[in-house]
Symmetry: C3
Subunit: 346 residues, 3 copies
């Protein structure tokens, strides 16, 4: 009798700066993933919903939703990066580099770019830069993530602390606009709202109004679809309280989809500046979202601008535009605080 | 802080007879939508399940289920037509005009064809004729729907009342049989039942026997798949009773799929004569269905006849063939009363 | 008023040895079915997840998961074989004969190969050999299944007892390796684990560690996807205890997917030697799995070996490696006992 063949996950002392981890299992995406994404989230971005709309915008067809691509890339890293993680601490320098289309096959690699043992000697912070690649070995996205990971052997010596310098915000000149993207003939009626980039003011906040009550079956179906198999999302006997913790990415996608109502033209996410899963989300929670316009920028593509948004997801009981208290801590009803760049017609 | 960018929906006074509304968001359908439709409903119509069966019947491949096409077209109208609706009052003159295949992109338009303010001055009835179009701007379906919509401004003057004359039943000579459809070589064994049109008697009632208990996750997944985002279906904090109202179309598809058992050869829905959502449906309800044969007709296509059916969905506690009481009102266990034409081998 | 048109199912006396039943409804599978399979189960076999991985292994693209193909073939037999079944007694001589790819259309046929009335005169055992065929009439799989079926007419005479001689195990020389399969360039990192056939010892047991708590919505969605419409899985009013019995195949797929953790390289199931649904499974149960290596064998394909595994699914409360008690009966927490051959790189 042995457990030796199952994956115990990596512990803090198993990571070395410079180490490159090729993650299992490559994944070919199809219209099936698109249909499921749109069934699990109220996603309605026209560019991701209609081949015709995408063609008018200069793309060969509708890509797989940007966050679906993110989840596929992210899901593969879980067995290697976060199986023994105590906490998911942050994201930075995320960029979408190439749209993903039905038929593409994605895989992921991560490079360890930082390590810092905690003063308690029981865990440490691991920084990885993860890259998603398609079947041509073209990069489709990259992002930095850092997690707190338990030590397996408490006697293992602390590594030299390396904390990478990470940009607070992706510089708009580093945003990658998909080749050919052109919003000159953008049909605002078909897209769902008349608001173009110039209609948004920096500092403007938008209450996205709609809410969705989350069910166990839904978040598990979604999380499995991304081949993210962390026990805590699926096994009601795993946590002492008998609750299944909802994958943070489920909340990201739910909030982003809800933000259609008010940001229908924030079509493509091209950068993830940062993000925090402020509080855990469980089945039965009703998720709502609000956004704040943080910045705007130009791009070289015809008719295409960029908007930097803070996307905040909240649950039932949240005050309007709930965020942080005077102590700088998130209100208990705040689930997510995400900072991203999206492309929008000017 | 503003909600100004979110869609408040149209109020009664915002509609004008003759107005044409182009609805957002176009949608390309794929095998993903078909797989999900067949996973959400016990749909087994051979023509919609098998490319080979469809080819023998003269079609290029299996279309997307007729009601899936309906839901896609209908879902797009919700933000423009029924966001502030108090009640969905009826359907008429629905016709499927062209099968929808994986790869097709659908969009919807609605023309306001009638308006009548209620005597209370607080709401009114809006009649729209909705058309679904594919990427070639070919009509794939059309139907009339009328809803009761709240007034936003109670001081707005009542419009001149226009109540369109609507056919009680689509005349069989107006049914559109898909080009090439031919049931001469129809394989009744593969289709699942031996009964042809001649085996059904007008007035015959069929108890479809099977039942399905509905879960929150399922109706929300289905309703989102059609990009129908009416709050009342998703947000458990929206109604005072904490219940999520199930999209009426979910009940339509469930009942139609259940009717396979006894009507396996009623393959394609080609007309919607009328329909009523008699009582609301909630998660936990067990849906069953029965049908009554209302009429039969010939078509010009080889081996293809038409059958007019009343499809009634009921929930737990319903008497056999539960319908209306002596007062003409629906029994409280009746969920749906639908009147449609389907094509069946003669 | 009549139920005459609905399918009452066959009773014991309706079967004759030698009878061939062509089952309804043929089914074309697509990437939609693959996406759903991977969303409903934590399936991560690289060969079924990635077109690129499959090509390196000599296949034209990633097939539909072996058990998804099984469910499609099996589902079609339910209305003809097990609608009036009291119990599903066993499986034998199952073989996967040809991979199923998106675009293939499957249908099923069953030949009655044995009949034995029970001594109580109220039911009997029916043995069928079921074959799944694709659109070219090529066999994609076959298996023997026997079920206990009620008699409809207790006065019907007992048929001559015919009990087929069934192999306890599919002989490894009868395993069909897909044409072209070649594991010479197998990428163990992408596949998820380093263990090759030589790393497994006969008698070795593997605890697959992970668990999944099952929801009503999930097992119903899965079971409908395979067009298995047995009432007992869907209708909470059908059983006296108000529970919906989970389709045994749902447990098979869940356990097999969980076994990835420790058996990631047991890529393709090629034979089903036997199986028992030891105890019923209901929503709320948390399924875990363990495997035992029963045998290994060579194949003629380059780099491809075969491993015979016992896969046992258990629910909450099970002891480690729970199986049978001293009385030879399954422990009450054992859900499934499956004996199969899979292909694995040597």
């Amino acid at each position: 009798m042995t457990k030796a063949k199952t994956n115990p996950g990596r512990f803090f002392e198993d990571y070395k700066v410079g180490q490159v981890i090729r993650h299992a299992v490559p994944r070919t995406v199809s219209g099936g993933e698109r249909a499921m994404y749109h069934a699990l989230y109220p996603a309605r971005g026209a560019l991701y919903s209609s081949d015709e709309f995408a063609r008018v915008a200069g793309l060969p067809s509708a890509p797989i939703d940007d966050l679906a691509a993110f989840h596929v890339v992210f899901g593969k890293t879980v067995p290697d990066v976060s199986l023994n993680a105590v906490a998911n601490l942050g994201y930075a320098e995320g960029r979408w580099l190439k749209p993903v289309y039905p038929g593409d096959t994605l895989r992921s690699e991560s490079e360890v770019i930082g390590l810092k043992e905690n003063s308690n000697g029981k865990s440490g912070v691991v920084y990885v830069r993860t890259t998603g690649l398609n079947q041509y070995d073209h990069k489709v996205m990259e992002y930095v993530r850092w997690v707190m990971v338990r030590k397996g052997d408490l006697a293992a010596p602390a590594p030299e602390a390396v904390v990478p310098a990470l940009a607070k915000v992706v510089d708009p000149k580093d945003l990658v606009v998909p080749t050919g993207l052109d919003f000159s003939n953008y049909d605002f009626t078909l897209a769902g709202e008349p608001h173009r980039l110039g209609d948004y003011q920096i500092g403007e906040k938008i209450d996205h109004v709609d809410g969705v009550t989350i069910e166990e079956a839904e978040h598990m179906i979604a999380t499995r679809l991304w081949q993210n198999t962390a026990k805590v999302h699926f096994d009601a006997t795993f946590r002492e309280d008998g609750k299944r913790l909802i994958y943070g990415g489920h909340v990201i996608s739910m909030a982003r989809a809800l933000s259609f109502n008010g940001l229908a033209n924030a079509q493509m996410i091209v950068a993830l500046n940062g993000g925090a899963h402020a509080n855990p989300c469980f089945a039965g929670d009703t998720v709502k979202a609000w956004s704040e316009v943080l910045d705007v920028a130009e791009t070289a593509a015809p008719g295409v601008g960029a908007i930097r948004l803070r996307l905040v997801a909240t649950k039932q009981g949240a005050a309007p535009f709930a965020y942080k208290g005077e102590d700088g801590k998130y209100a208990p009803e705040v689930l997510l605080d995400l900072d991203y760049w999206a492309l929008m017609p000017v």
